[in-house]
């Protein structure tokens, strides 16, 4: 297998999953693609040196994506809603309102800091335990808990008026 084939296999194996993670972080298609592209290019160089099979590389690539996202702090989406208030606050209850709730929650994620969002994506989208998140974020486990706690608190502030998570505030 030459390098191009190896790269193609790596992309086929991990590309979609990584792009989804990157999209969760950036909320922007182009930015997500740039993020993952850079990660692949770095790993491509490592493949030349280490020659590991693609199956071994998802965790490494994810780390590269997270690291690039956090280090750069630069991939904020133009569509991201950076605000402390949501524009509309529908009354909870109907299925339509629940859809609105979820759209608001998605938009509210855009108001979080990069590290808060990364912590929540890794915990609730990638289902990683806090100690693995800590290793990925380059911080302590307590910091992960703090990031997640503060991120969730902010989401509650932004999304609760629409009904989500009301019981959490009681």
């Amino acid at each position: 297998m030459d390098l191009d084939d190896a790269l193609a296999e790596l992309v086929a194996h991990s590309g979609d999953r990584l792009l989804r993670v990157a999209y969760q972080l950036t909320h922007d298609r182009a930015a997500a693609q740039d993020l993952v592209q850079d990660a692949f290019l770095r790993v491509y160089r490592s493949m030349r040196r280490r020659g590991l099979a693609p199956e071994d590389w998802y965790a490494y690539l994810r780390r590269a994506v997270i690291n690039e996202y956090l280090t750069a702090r630069r991939l904020r989406s133009s569509s991201e809603v950076v605000t402390d208030r949501m524009p509309e606050q529908p009354v909870a209850g109907s299925p339509e309102d629940q859809i609105a709730d979820r759209a608001q929650l998605w938009a509210a994620l855009g108001a979080l800091s990069a590290r808060q969002r990364a912590a929540l994506v890794l915990r609730y989208y990638e289902d990683l335990p806090d100690h693995q998140i800590a290793a990925l974020l380059g911080c302590r486990e307590a910091s992960v808990r703090s990031l997640a706690s503060r991120g969730l608190a902010l989401l509650r502030q932004l999304a609760v008026p629409a009904g989500i998570g009301k019981e959490d505030r009681s």
């Binding site: 193609a8 992309v11 160089r45 904020r76 133009s78 998605w106 806090d130 703090s146 959490d168």
Partner: protein, 374 residues
């Protein structure tokens, strides 16, 4: 109605179909760089192995007349020799830098200071200011690389084109960022609420706002005070505060995390992605969210519950990245969530001992202090 924790994963997954596809990624990886002025600037595989060609392409972008016209400024460049020198180090106990102007509706959210870098985040805008000697412009202005030893990270901004001078100092667009030399030997970077340089090219309003924000950044000016809601008393003079992060609100800048260092503090770059400091307790203190806890009691770790200074705390010992780590946490201490964590096999002071030196100052900002070590 479910709680946010219960549905967050579902909400995230419901947007999976919006993510780009791997097929597009593979095409992009194999594509050659687009000609200047067309498409998103991307690195191609060839760029890794033909660095000279890549550098030439970037230089061509900078030199291209389509980019260097009136929109992109006059390229005025002040002589670095005439500039005042940037500080060699920043004092972490003061903000050092502030926004003198932000677009309507924008305000400072948080910031931080460490010896090598200070940063400010407003809604959508993020400013990093580096101390003297931390940044280097490579070759014919192709990239600006800044390092912060105490953070263990290096940031590189690939230059996209010349920007109008900021206060007479040279400046460049670098992706969705404006980087400029704010003083001799010192550079600053302003991240904009845009995803790319392509988006910036078509957004003259954001360009103007970026130049105006950069031109109004104030150094050493009076700001709301940086205050600490707790004070460590009775410590020896070897301790000093570093790497302070603060949150803006209620007329003050409230420090919510910082690090304590001594001459014995050492950086371990292999732990985590960015590395950690050993023999350097990390202190976090912020208002306790309702229902906050210290940690799920993981049986893999050794936990003990104790009372220190009248507060119930959890002391935990574990190993992260091969490095012993100890943590003391109080979920509810006079309205605060407090955590002190320290790495290293032979800590200068244990976290439980350090907690005994901690004096909480209450939730009224009027009672907080500018000196976290009393």
């Amino acid at each position: 109605m479910n709680g946010i924790e219960d549905i967050l994963g579902q909400v995230m997954a419901s947007h999976d179909q919006e993510a780009p596809a791997a097929a597009d990624l593979l095409r992009a990886l194999h594509a050659a760089s687009p000609p200047p002025g067309r498409g998103r600037p991307r690195r191609s595989l060839a760029g890794w192995y033909l660095p000279l060609a890549a550098a030439a392409a970037v230089a061509a972008v900078i030199a291209g007349s389509a980019w260097a016209g009136g929109l992109w400024g006059s390229h005025r460049r002040a002589s670095p020799a005439r500039l005042p020198a940037a500080p060699r180090q920043f004092n972490p106990l003061i903000p050092n830098v502030s926004f003198g102007w932000l677009p309507a509706g924008q305000s400072l959210i948080q910031g931080g200071a460490r010896p090598t870098e200070v940063y400010l985040d407003a809604t959508g805008w993020a400013l990093s200011v580096y101390a003297r000697g931390r940044c280097h412009l490579t070759g014919p202005a192709t990239a600006l690389t800044c390092s912060a030893r105490d953070l263990g990270g290096v940031s590189t901004w690939q230059v996209s084109g010349h920007a109008p001078a900021v206060g007479g100092h040279r400046a460049f667009w670098a992706g969705p960022n404006l980087v400029w030399q704010y003083a001799r030997g010192g550079w600053a970077a302003l991240n904009m609420p845009l995803p790319s340089f392509t988006a910036l090219r078509h957004d003259p309003r954001t360009q103007r706002e970026a130049i105006k924000i950069a031109g109004h950044v104030r150094f050493g000016a009076a700001t709301p005070p940086l205050v600490f809601p707790a004070q460590l008393t009775g410590l020896t003079s070897q301790w000093q505060v570093s790497d302070v992060h603060y949150v803006a609100g209620a007329g003050v800048l409230r420090a919510d995390s910082y690090m304590l260092t001594t001459g014995a503090s050492r950086f371990f770059s292999h732990v985590g992605d960015l590395g950690v400091w050993a023999n350097a307790p990390y202190v976090e203190i912020h208002p306790a969210p309702r229902g906050s806890t210290c940690t799920p009691h993981d049986p893999a770790y050794k936990n003990t519950s104790e009372i220190i200074n009248g507060y119930r705390v959890v002391v935990q010992r574990m190993t992260i990245g091969g490095l012993p780590e100890q943590d003391v946490c109080a979920a509810h201490a006079d309205g605060f969530w407090v955590d002190i964590e320290e790495f290293g096999p032979h800590p200068t002071i244990g976290v439980a001992s350090l907690f005994k030196h901690l004096r909480l100052l209450g939730t009224n900002p009027a009672n907080w202090t500018r000196n976290p070590i009393g």
